[in-house]
């Protein structure tokens, strides 16, 4: 299962001290997201990716980070499903 971010013009971003608030134009909803979620939506998922690769990409943004464990990957998977429900990402056929 792979996802990619909605197109960038669907989002309006506000950032303060590495915390983000994002307005999603199509849904009219506003979300608070942390830096990791912002990285997923703005950078990592520009190209389609599954949850495991997305987890590794997140970890890769941290110097000397170890491989993410199963808990982390499961959390990212659950979050991507939630992002999809909110319209922030779209599922892409493999």
């Amino acid at each position: 299962m792979r996802w990619r971010s909605a197109t960038s013009d669907e989002f309006l971003w506000a950032e303060w001290d590495r915390e983000f608030v994002v307005f999603h134009r199509p849904s009219g909803q506003t979300h608070f997201v942390n830096a990791a979620s912002a990285a997923l939506l703005r950078d990592i998922l520009v190209d389609p990716m599954d949850a495991l690769d997305a987890s590794r990409a997140l970890a890769g943004q941290t110097p000397d980070a170890p491989e993410p464990d199963a808990d982390f990957a499961r959390h990212v998977f659950g979050l991507l499903v939630r992002f999809e429900e909110l319209g922030l990402v779209v599922r892409v056929s493999p």
């Binding site: 979300h31 942390n34 979620s37 941290t62 110097p63 464990d69 199963a70 909110l86």
Partner: protein, 199 residues
């Protein structure tokens, strides 16, 4: 950010000085050099039509009802306008504003009031009415999966270089603000700004 800390999921620890982080450090046998990765989180602003109604009262539910996903819904008493009758009723204010902690009952986790994970596991009702930090045993990495031995500390913004020997029993802490369980049906009848977080 206060709200963000409170909304961290079970796998997330806050800054190193949080009780959950301290608990995890105590359970380690040895330190492995590593780095922490921030867990992505999201908090959605929920709201409906805000009306200048005179009051929006909800009662504490009898027993421990669950919603359709099997969560106990714990209403944070500090997030509401007023608490009546010793916590039996809550005024959600005008416009409606409240925070609810979803406490899963069907995901197999058992919660304890100590980082050693000893004693009798607590149910959602007790956790809600007591409030505080509760601990559960986090699953270790599957040897056939990512193959990681080190456990990543999950914090909100900064990256702390530490890791855990994954063979160790690791307790993860979650914060549950004190309050009372409410029924999903009752909560659904209010159109307002209700923020949900799931532990």
């Amino acid at each position: 950010m206060r709200a963000q800390k409170d909304n961290q999921t079970a796998q997330v620890t806050a800054a190193a000085e949080s009780p959950a982080s301290v608990a995890r450090q105590k359970s380690r046998r040895r330190m492995i050099r590593g780095a922490a990765v921030a867990v992505p989180t999201i908090l959605t602003l929920h709201s409906g039509a805000a009306l200048a109604r005179t009051s929006n009262l909800i009662s504490r539910a009898p027993g421990a009802p669950v919603d359709g996903a099997g969560n106990n819904m714990c209403l944070n008493e500090n997030s509401v306008a007023e608490v009546f009758d010793g916590g039996q009723r809550y005024d959600l204010g005008e416009p409606i504003s409240a925070e609810v902690t979803n406490i899963p009952t069907l995901d197999g986790r058992q919660f304890y009031d100590n980082a050693d994970l000893t004693g009798t596991p607590l149910g959602g009702q007790e956790m809600c009415e007591r409030g505080g930090t509760f601990y559960y045993e986090a699953a270790g990495p599957l040897p056939s999966d990512l193959g990681a031995q080190a456990r990543a500390d999950l914090i909100r913004q900064s990256f702390i270089p530490e890791a855990v020997d994954a063979t160790e029993k690791v307790a993860t802490g979650v914060d549950v603000p004190r309050g009372g369980l409410v029924s999903a049906t009752a909560l659904a009848s209010f159109a307002g700004r209700i923020m949900y977080r799931t532990i």
